[in-house]
Amino acid sequence: MDDWLNQCIREVKAGDTEAFAQIVDAYKDKVYQVAYRMVGNAQEAQDVSQEAFIRAYTNIERYDVNRKFSTWLFRIATNLSIDRLRKKKPDFSLDAEVNGAEGLDGYAQLAATDALPDEQVVTLEWQASIQKEIDTLPPKYRAAIILKYMEDLSLQEMSVILDLPVATVKTHVHRGREALRKKLKKW
C-alpha cells in the first residue's frame, strides 16, 4: 500500500495527472466520510471533500513523504470542514430542534437515491438521526469524536490533523463523549 502510494505520489509530482485519480479513488470514501460527518449534509460534504483533493493536488510538493499521507489529507479535509462551519451560522447550538431541519436535509439527500429496500431505508434513517446528534456538537468536539470513533485514529494522529496538543485533543474527546452521552442516553 505504502509503496504503491509513494509511487503514485512520485508520478503526480512528475506531472502525471492520471496517477492522482488512483489516489482519489483510494481515499475518497474516508475523506468524504470525515467531511460529511463534519458539515452534516451531502452537498457540502461533496464540496468540501472535492476541495480537499484539489488542495492536496496543488500542494503535493509540500507533502512530506516521511509522514502519513492519510493524516495529511485528513488535516486538509478537517480544516476545510471547520472553516465551512465557521462561515455558516452557529447552527451547532445545543438546541437540537434548530438542527432538525439541517439533519432532515442531509437525510432527504441520502434517502433520495433511488428506491431502496426497507432495511436500507431504516439504516439511512438511523444514520441520519445519529448525524443529527453529531451536528449539535461544537466543531472542535465534533472533529475529535469523528476522528476517534469513526476513523479510529490515535490521539497522536489526531493531534497532527487538528494541530492541537495531545492533551487538548484528549479533553475534546472527553467533552464530545460526555455531550453525546447526554444526547444519546434516551435512545
Binding site: V24, D29, Q46, Y57, I130, R177, R181, K185
Partner: protein, 206 residues
C-alpha cells in the same frame, strides 16, 4: 466526580488490568456509575455504527475535471524560481542567444557555397567540391577552405584549416603549419573563439 474521571480513563484505554478490575467491582455496587458507564458505552457504539458512508458516484471524475491545469502551476513555479535567481536567468538568456547565433552561422554555412581563402596555384573541382593542390605546387601562406574537401598533393607552407569538409593527403603532399579540421558545431565554436582571440592579439600576422 472522581469516578467519572476513571470512566474516561477506561474509555481512553489507559487503565491497567488491575485498575479495570477495580472499576468493574465498583460498577457492581454503584448504580450511578454503572449508568454513566453504560451510557458512554452505548453512545460510542451508536457513533461507530453510523460510520461507513461512501463518496457519491463519479466523485473521482468530478475531482479530476476540477483540477487546475498542471501547466499553469509550472509557469508559476518557474516565475517564482526566476525571481529568486536573476543572474542565472540572465546567463541562460545569454547562452540561448549565443547558441542560436552560432547555430545559425553553422547551418547557414554548411548549406552554403565553398569558400577558399589563401594565395597560390590550386585547382577547384566544382563537381566534387574539392580544392586540389597539385603536385609540385606550393601555397606560401595559410589556406582555409569552408564547405569543401581539400586534396593536398603539393605543399602548404602555412596552416591548413578545413571547415565542414575533409582533408586528403597524398603521400607526397606536405603541410608545414598546423592542420585543423572543423566539422562539429562545438569545435566550430571553439575555432571561432580562438580566431576571435588571436585576431585581438596584434602580433599574430607578423
Amino acid at each position: 466526580m472522581k469516578h467519572s474521571d476513571s470512566i474516561h480513563r477506561y474509555f481512553d484505554g489507559e487503565m491497567t488490568q488491575n485498575e479495570r478490575e477495580q472499576l468493574y467491582r465498583h460498577l457492581e455496587g454503584c448504580s450511578e456509575c454503572k449508568e454513566h458507564y453504560d451510557e458512554v458505552k452505548k453512545s460510542i457504539a451508536l457513533v461507530q455504527s453510523a460510520s461507513h458512508i461512501q463518496a457519491p458516484k463519479e466523485f473521482t471524475e468530478n475531482v479530476m475535471s476540477a483540477l487546475p491545469q498542471k501547466k499553469k502551476k509550472r509557469t508559476i513555479a518557474w516565475k517564482k524560481w526566476s525571481k529568486n535567481h536573476p543572474v542565472l536567468v540572465a546567463a541562460a538568456v545569454f547562452l540561448l542567444f549565443m547558441s542560436s547565433m552560432t547555430w545559425l552561422n553553422w547551418t547557414g554555412m554548411s548549406g552554403g557555397e565553398m569558400a577558399i581563402s589563401g594565395v597560390g596555384n590550386f585547382e577547384v573541382d566544382q563537381e566534387s567540391n574539392t580544392v586540389i593542390i597539385p603536385e609540385g605546387e606550393v601555397i606560401e601562406g595559410d589556406l582555409t577552405v569552408r564547405n569543401g574537401d581539400v586534396d593536398v598533393q603539393g605543399e602548404v607552407q602555412g596552416d591548413l584549416t578545413v571547415i565542414n569538409g575533409e582533408r586528403y593527403m597524398a603521400s607526397a603532399g606536405q603541410v608545414a603549419g598546423n592542420i585543423e579540421e572543423v566539422n562539429q558545431v562545438l569545435s566550430w565554436l571553439w575555432y571561432e573563439t580562438k580566431e576571435l582571440f588571436s585576431n585581438l592579439t596584434p602580433d599574430r600576422e607578423e
